[in-house]
Symmetry: C2
Subunit: 427 residues, 2 copies
Amino acid sequence: MPGYPVRVATATTSVPQVCVAAKRAARELATADSETKDAALERLAGLLGERKDEILEANAADLADERAAGLTEALRDRLTLDEARIEAMADGVRAIAALPDPVGEVLEERTLASGLELKKVRVPLGVVAVIYEARPNVTVDCAALCIKSGNAIVLRGSSYAQRSNGALAAVVRDAIAAAGLPSDAVGLLSGERSELEELARAEDAVDLVIPRGGEGLKRALKDVATVPVIYAASGNCHVYVHHDADLEMARRVAYNAKVQRPGVCNAAETLLVNSSVAEELLPGLLGDLAGAGVELVGDERVRASAVGVEVGPADDDDWRTEYLGLKMAVGVVDNLDEAIEHVNRYGSGHSEAIVTGSEEPGERFTDEVDAAAVYVNASTRFTDGFEFGMGAEIGNSTQKLHARGPIGLRELTTTKYVVHGSGQVRE
Amino acid sequence: MPGYPVRVATATTSVPQVCVAAKRAARELATADSETKDAALERLAGLLGERKDEILEANAADLADERAAGLTEALRDRLTLDEARIEAMADGVRAIAALPDPVGEVLEERTLASGLELKKVRVPLGVVAVIYEARPNVTVDCAALCIKSGNAIVLRGSSYAQRSNGALAAVVRDAIAAAGLPSDAVGLLSGERSELEELARAEDAVDLVIPRGGEGLKRALKDVATVPVIYAASGNCHVYVHHDADLEMARRVAYNAKVQRPGVCNAAETLLVNSSVAEELLPGLLGDLAGAGVELVGDERVRASAVGVEVGPADDDDWRTEYLGLKMAVGVVDNLDEAIEHVNRYGSGHSEAIVTGSEEPGERFTDEVDAAAVYVNASTRFTDGFEFGMGAEIGNSTQKLHARGPIGLRELTTTKYVVHGSGQVRE
């Protein structure tokens, strides 16, 4: 295999080296104008096409490597690149270039009692570190979001994807250098295990860590991180069908929320149905779900209503579980209060939906349910940076601080108070 | 001493009990309308006056207690209440009532490609815990900010201020109950050491911890906290005098930034002077500072310019130190780049000022210095929620995530996406 994929990040490129170089580059990127950043992204989109052979060759080497031998079929698929996937990356980069630049946005502006002129201005965070697993496209997506928002990025992918990530990072670095920006604004680590902790404790250089991975990764970080971390969301999401719902709509929404893509965080895990419509709704809806291969568990009343469909007993653990697959817990509640109580008790604060035919229950549900996104008469599956019109997302947050919901360009910024005076002093 | 000050929080009021009660109350407070919250605050302001004897008696008991015997004179002064201080608290509460309610503010609103109507709405965080030291007025100030922003609050003051805090918390609880809100929205712990860790790990009930105290408190939390914490800022702030500055203005601004109140985080610790004006500016300015009792340390060029004023040698530690007192490090730099470099290397990202007679250096300084507040031709001492027109502050943040600068009402909120549809499902 040719040596180029490791040109950018070799095993000797240590965490401190990459982070310090990124921090230096971040200062330059923070004051780069929109035209320059967009030019870098346009160049990147172009280069991805021009250098696709190089990228595919690196990817083939990763797939042929013994480190990839133990991967599941699903992980191999995620790791695999082809021309269509490279083209999709380029399209994504162009879409990010077309978004408005969040940097420099004036959020507040006023003259203070002291006569000082105060502005609250959006500025980049500085250095963002992203830790991710199989998909090499994350390298490009996250780098593009960071460049657009004026941040430097340190990427840490899996070691088994290292050649693919290296080839893609090389393309990104060349693109930003061609636009006159420092290539060190995009750094790639080697994927070694020890890098996780080093990165999570690099307080002097890294402003934010975003882990994109499972519970194991979160736990590994939680114990050691001193740098702020925004943990990717887990989603124990609910659909509640109120007694005045259009039951055809409820059937469509609940089915979609569970079945359309069950492995993602905004898919529904629990269906709650008002007792006065349970008998009318459940046989058909549970039949649809079972027909799509969904394993069902439910409370006593659900099991009694489930004519001709097998529904196992649900216990407390079922209400708490994010199945991330074709399984659903179903419960009957007697009123809206019970539904809200259930959602707030068991939900993870991600995406929650009510189906209702009138305004007041929708308002109470959206007011009282404590979650990043609350829906009236729509599937929970819409919680997504692209669907929300934010262009793209670097992750999704169920935290309440800084960013709640999709993490897009604005969420990759902080603010700065810029104050102009004429010699004012405090009395 | 009468028993009432411990009515609210006794040693048997455990952290889980107080937190769980606060969480329950938070749901009600989150949907309370502005009129109700303001009525509670007006009632509180009134009750503080009506029940001042009860408060002063509790405060006298704290001051007479053996736990207060070992306090420094400064801490005793902070602990001490009198009629004027109680009146100032009431005025503060009325000022908070008069501020606009942040809750319900619509930050974004758009129709998505799917036809969904999306709103991004400001909502309360939930339960905020504040850990503080001597001053009993923090009990009232922070409770008022939390009530106004729809949050429940758990207060944890020092054990030696417990009767004072208890009397004040009792007044707050009675005031909010009189307005029809749940009194458990304001909980007070007993001040025992073990509560710190319990509170910092109460993930299920507490949404944010704000410590208001010294480095010891921060360290104690940093190691154990799993709840998000916004650490009160440390402030290693700078004033830089450019070569084109109005030197009279520079002299006033630098003097004010150091001397007006040297023990606070927005006071300046280092003065940087452009070499071309050092000889003209320094003798007078250093004389002013020395005359105010400021101990001076400086680099070689400063010491050479300091005619008739004693200036010790400054080492690397001096550039890093937040003196929080009458001491200042003084350095000469040859140009703006050196000044910015110095500030970004040694500063804590709190408040940084340049004095300059033209626009371009001010723009470069405010663009390139990485801090919560950057000033052109004004004292760093203005970084403060009240001075910034935010009404009041619960603390001051040098973090970049969530809140940077004064933490006022808006910073005590998060957001929620409220999405209305007509049966939309993902394709």
